[in-house]
Symmetry: C2
Subunit: 350 residues, 2 copies
DNA sequence: ATCCCATTTTTGAACGATCAAAACACGCTA
DNA sequence: TAGCGTGTTTTGATCGTTCAAAAATGGGAT
């Protein structure tokens, strides 16, 4: 019948191979200690019985669960950010390569959610955490550091001391690249549509834009407001309704969402994206590549971030040797040029 | 210092409370067997020591891991389906209410991925599975049933015998509601933009559309092709370029993606959605509610599906008593009416 | 033949919980 | 007083693995 016979244990494998428990265990955990011939016999028995070590038993003895905790925040309604989706996938995949799995849980945001982390630790359900959705003044990095819990965050801690290990995207570098691209195809009046000061991520991106402008001898022009597509539309509208000689020929947006708003503002004025006014977003959301949208955007190397986060965490856990680098990694986003900034009939320059 | 003192065990709690291990265990698992006064003393000790049962130890003894396996498929590039995101969240939340957590893993699609499921089972890492992304001829329900593994699928098995427990959305009912809505606001020539025959989900939706048309005395008109937004645009274009008296006044689309394509076809012809031609989609993706899109769509009760899936699975596991219902639940989507089908200046009818 | 050392294998104990059954306490009846 | 039944608590065994230390094995040197 060849049922999977999930009842195989170390003991039963040992019996079949004619050795003791511990020898089987050694074949799995320290093969070099076992004589080659014995090893072969044991491996055959393992295959024959389809043996897999029982996770709970192993975890009980070693105090390592081989599980990584990952908290999914309640997604705000109408959120079209599939970035975290890809991130989770990458984390899961990278973890699997080392026999680890991801344990999902939910928790309220802010310090109210710390209980859930504490609970999992007390139960010894996880060995460490990967944090995403980190926000300004996030209590988690500090708390976890205090507790001595291994963790890696996707996103710097923007306020307070920079505690713990993290991997992040260099938003400033990305925006600089965007400005340089626009400059290269002829644009000279490039404005920035951003968020209010105080959001770490937003400030980082503005900084990259401003630096690039200054370096290229352009006047930085930044407008800011709280919000998504709706706000982007309003901010863009104001810029586009400027007198013709002051009106920007290119809009760099802090996010794809703002950029969608900006595109709408263009459409309402009969302006063609890419031809009359260039638009660049950030995140490279799936909608950006839809026909008829075709938004130039900065793509985050999400898969790599997930991979590096896991590697860093496994390093902290002593599962792999920690690469010699620093406690953090800053990865560059890559500019994906589409129609919204391409054809570049270069605007006539004053 | 009040460190979390994660070293508390049954034994240490017992010592503090002046009772034996087993009594503490009983307080947790069968409180009615313990004298009220003793119980109080034990509960105090538990609080004082911040004791939480060690998951591995418990799981080793009881053979229940309190983990639910969930496989995330490699998302196809450019996938803008946030439905599964919400589903995972709902599953995680519902599971937490019963002390369960979700274990994420990845696996290739098709029968090549079954190994990963087998591996987790052999390790006794999970108690059962929640399946999503079920497709036609999905090998998983059959295999899991054969193995006697508890599982619940989001989505019927459309081909072969209907094996196992599932929760699904009644696509036919949704489409019927869409047609009735369009009929009520005056439309008489309602066409359907669908997928080729053979996709269970697509066929279900067409069936609902056709049934409604016949009941209302309308001529069903179905066009089909493989694909997403691009295809939707092409199919809609063909319909809209019909002679005026044959041209449909409303388009019911098998998915929001097709609907976005259809909207684009309208725009290219200077037709206003909702006023000249009504459009209805399916899924209520976030983009549907964007200003300037405003697509009427059928919203799937994802949270409820997640919740019911977990409940059903826990029933199979004997954790909660199985509700008396059948092996499956079919939930109705709800129609969210937006501008693309609203103002209904009713088209003049022949 | 004896002893020593390095290599390989085996034996008890432990991880922290629950199960099954035994022991204890107490009031009631015969 | 012995015996019984009910309610409460404790004791020993066990789940499947790994750790630590002990035991066996096999040469080579003395």
């Amino acid at each position: 019948m060849a049922t999977p016979e999930s009842g195989a244990t170390l003991e039963s494998v040992a019996t079949v191979a004619g050795v003791s428990r511990q020898t089987v265990s050694n074949v799995l955990n320290a093969p070099e200690r076992v004589a080659p011939e014995t090893r072969q016999r044991v491996e055959d028995a393992i295959r024959e019985l389809r043996y897999r070590p029982n996770r709970s038993a192993r975890s009980l003895r070693t105090r390592i669960s081989r599980l990584i905790g990952y908290c999914i925040q309640p997604a705000p309604a109408g959120n079209l950010n599939p970035v975290l989706d890809r991130f989770v996938h990458a984390v899961t995949e990278s973890a699997a390569a080392h026999g680890f799995h991801v344990l999902l849980f939910t928790a309220p945001t802010g310090s109210a959610g710390l209980d859930r982390y504490a609970e999992l630790l007390a139960q010894r359900a996880v060995d460490g955490f990967v944090l995403a959705d980190t926000v300004v003044a996030d209590p988690r990095p500090g708390w976890l550091t205090e507790q001595g819990v291994p963790f890696v965050a996707f996103g710097r801690s923007w306020s307070g001391p920079d505690r713990g290990h993290w991997v992040d995207v260099d938003g400033a570098a990305g925006m600089t690249e965007a400005v340089e691209h626009l400059h290269a195809i002829g644009h000279r009046r490039i404005a920035f549509i951003g968020w209010p000061e105080g959001s770490g991520v937003g400030d980082d991106r503005v900084a990259g834009y401003t630096a690039a402008c200054l370096r290229l001898g352009l006047d930085p022009r930044v407008v800011r407001a709280e919000g998504g597509a709706g706000t982007g539309r309003a901010l863009a509208a104001a810029l586009l309704d400027d007198a013709a000689e002051a009106r920007p020929t290119a809009l760099v947006c802090v996010s794809d969402e703002s950029a969608y708003g900006a595109l709408r503002a263009l459409a309402e004025r009969g302006l063609r994206p890419g031809e009359d006014v260039a638009v660049v977003g950030f995140d490279d959301t799936p909608a950006a590549r839809l026909p008829g949208v075709d938004l130039t955007s900065l793509s985050q190397p999400i898969e790599q971030i997930g991979h590096e986060s896991v590697l860093m965490l496994l390093g902290l856990l002593g599962v792999v040797e920690l690469p010699p680098g620093p406690e953090h990694r800053l990865l560059r986003p890559s500019l994906v040029v589409r129609a919204s900034s391409r054809p570049a009939v270069p605007p006539t320059e004053a």
